[in-house]
C-alpha cells in the first residue's frame, strides 16, 4: 500500500514540475497550453476511492488555477473529470478486468486501450475547461475547435512525459 502512495507522490511531483515550470510557459499557436497535469487523474489505479479521487482533483485543479491566475476554472474541470472517471472506466473495462493498485500507464492494458481511455478523459477535461472559460453558449463552435486542438497537444506531450519519466523509471 505504501508503494501506491509513493507512486502517487512521485507522479504528482513530476507532472507538476513539468506543468508549472515548463508547459505553463509554452504557448502553442498563441492560444494553447498543454495541461498535462490531468494525467495525474488519468494514471491513478482503477480501485482508487472516490473520496480521494475527487479531493485530489480539487487540489490539483486549484494548484494549476493559483499558478495561472484563473481561480476556479481548472478546478471545476478536474472535479468534473474525477466525477465521470469511474463511469468511463466501467465503459472501457479491458478483457482481463482491472487489477487492484495497478496504475493506468500506456503499457498496463495495451496502448490501444490507453489511447481510447486517455483521449476521452482529456477531451472531457478540455471541453469543460474551455466552456467555463468562454462562459457563453453562443461561442460553442469555437469551444469545440479549441477542445480538439488542445486535446491533441495535451495528449502528445502528456504521453511523452508519462511514458518517458514515469512508466519507464518506475519499471
Amino acid at each position: 500500500m505504501n508503494k501506491v502512495y509513493d507512486e502517487i507522490l512521485y507522479n504528482f511531483f513530476i507532472l507538476f514540475i513539468f506543468q508549472l515550470l515548463v508547459f505553463n510557459n509554452i504557448v502553442f499557436f498563441n492560444n494553447y497550453i498543454p495541461y498535462i497535469y490531468i494525467f495525474f487523474l488519468i494514471t491513478l489505479p482503477a480501485n482508487t476511492s472516490n473520496l480521494f479521487l475527487i479531493l485530489s482533483a480539487f487540489v490539483i485543479g486549484s494548484i494549476q488555477d493559483i499558478f495561472s491566475g484563473t481561480i476556479g476554472i481548472h478546478s471545476f474541470a478536474t472535479v468534473f473529470v474525477a466525477f465521470v472517471r469511474p463511469v468511463i472506466l466501467s465503459l472501457y473495462t479491458p478483457l482481463s478486468k482491472y487489477d487492484d493498485n495497478k496504475f493506468l500507464y500506456p503499457g498496463t492494458y495495451g496502448i490501444n486501450w490507453f489511447i481510447k481511455y486517455s483521449v476521452t478523459i482529456i477531451m472531457l477535461h478540455s471541453f469543460v475547461l474551455y466552456l467555463i472559460d468562454a462562459f457563453d453558449l453562443t461561442l460553442i463552435l469555437s469551444v469545440f475547435l479549441k477542445t480538439f486542438i488542445s486535446t491533441l497537444i495535451t495528449w502528445i506531450l502528456g504521453l511523452a512525459v508519462v511514458y518517458g519519466l514515469i512508466e519507464k523509471v518506475r519499471k
Binding site: 473520496l51 480539487f58 476556479g72 476554472i73 478546478s75 471545476f76 472535479v79 466525477f83 462562459f135
Partner: protein, 270 residues
C-alpha cells in the same frame, strides 16, 4: 435522521461533486472579471424581467398616491414655466442636465444596503454613477447597467453618502443613513457653531458631478449635540416616501466626463 445519514453516506460522491462544483463556480464568478460581468449581466436581465412583470401588476395599487404627486409636480412645473418668462438667462441646470423618466420596478427597504431596479438601461443611454431623483427628492445613484435595466444604489444604504447643504445658509454637510428606519437619515459633520433649527430644509450641494444642486433631500427633525465633540447629531426626515414611490427620473450630467477629467488633472503631481 438515520435515513438521512444513510442517504448522505450512500451518495457522498455525488454530493461532494455538487458541493465542490458550486464552490468552484462561486470562485469563478467572484475572481474572474470576464465571467463575473457575463454572470451579472445575465442575472440582472433575468431579475429585471421578473420584477417588471410583478410591477406591471402591482403598479395599479399605488395609482391614487401617484396621481396626487404627479398633479403636484405638474403644478410646480407650470409655475416654473411662467417664472421662466420673467427670468433672465439663468438656464444653468437645463443646459447641464438631461432628465430621463423611468419606472422603479423593484425596491428594497428592509436591508442595510438597499437598492432599486429601474426599467431603463444602456439602450436608453443610462450610465453608472448618474443621479436618480423622484419628484419629491433624491433617491439614489445608478450602480450597474444592463441593456434594458439598471440597478440603483439607494440613499438608504450604509455605504453611500450624499454631499448636501443647508438651504438657508449654504453650509455643506454629508447626509448618511444608519440602516435602521427608511424615513430618517443622519447628518454628523455639521459643526455646532452653525445655527440649525427643526424644520430646516436640506438640499443637494451640487459639488459632486452626480447630483444637480438644489434637489430636496429632507427636513431637520431632531437636533442633538454629540458629547465632547463640536458636532451636531442631526436626524433628518427624507422628503421622499420610499414606501410608495414608483416613478423617477435619471439625471444625466452632460459634462460629467469633462468635469471628472478636469478634477483628475487638477491634482498636482509631486
Amino acid at each position: 435522521m438515520k435515513s438521512l445519514i444513510d442517504f448522505i453516506l450512500r451518495h457522498y460522491f455525488a454530493i461532494l461533486f455538487f458541493l465542490l462544483e458550486f464552490f468552484n463556480l462561486f470562485l469563478i464568478i467572484e475572481f474572474n472579471s470576464y465571467q463575473k460581468q457575463i454572470f451579472y449581466n445575465f442575472s440582472n436581465d433575468i431579475t429585471g424581467k421578473i420584477y417588471e412583470t410583478v410591477y406591471s401588476i402591482t403598479s395599479y395599487l399605488n395609482l391614487k398616491e401617484e396621481n396626487k404627486s404627479l398633479l403636484k409636480e405638474n403644478a410646480k412645473l407650470k409655475n416654473l414655466l411662467t417664472a421662466k418668462y420673467f427670468q433672465s438667462n439663468n438656464n444653468f441646470t437645463e443646459a447641464y442636465f438631461e432628465y430621463i423618466p423611468t419606472n422603479i420596478i423593484y425596491k428594497s427597504l428592509v436591508y442595510e444596503n438597499n437598492f432599486f431596479l429601474i426599467n431603463k438601461g444602456q439602450v436608453d443611454g443610462i450610465q453608472p454613477n448618474t443621479a436618480v431623483v423622484s419628484p419629491q427628492g433624491i433617491i439614489g445613484v445608478v450602480f450597474k447597467t444592463s441593456p434594458h435595466f439598471s440597478s440603483v444604489l439607494s440613499i438608504l444604504n450604509t455605504k453611500t453618502a450624499v454631499s448636501a447643504k443647508m438651504k438657508k445658509n449654504n453650509y455643506t454637510c454629508l447626509v448618511k443613513w444608519d440602516g435602521k428606519d427608511y424615513r430618517y437619515g443622519k447628518i454628523e459633520n455639521l459643526p455646532t457653531y452653525i445655527k440649525v433649527s427643526e424644520g430646516d430644509t436640506i438640499v443637494t450641494s451640487g459639488f459632486s458631478a452626480i447630483f444637480p444642486p438644489g434637489i430636496l433631500i429632507g427636513t431637520v427633525k431632531n437636533i442633538k449635540k454629540k458629547e465632547q465633540e463640536n458636532f451636531y447629531d442631526i436626524t433628518i426626515r427624507f422628503t421622499v416616501n420610499f414606501k410608495i414611490i414608483s416613478n423617477a427620473y435619471v439625471i444625466h450630467n452632460r459634462h460629467k466626463q469633462e468635469i471628472n477629467n478636469l478634477l483628475q488633472n487638477s491634482t498636482i503631481d509631486e
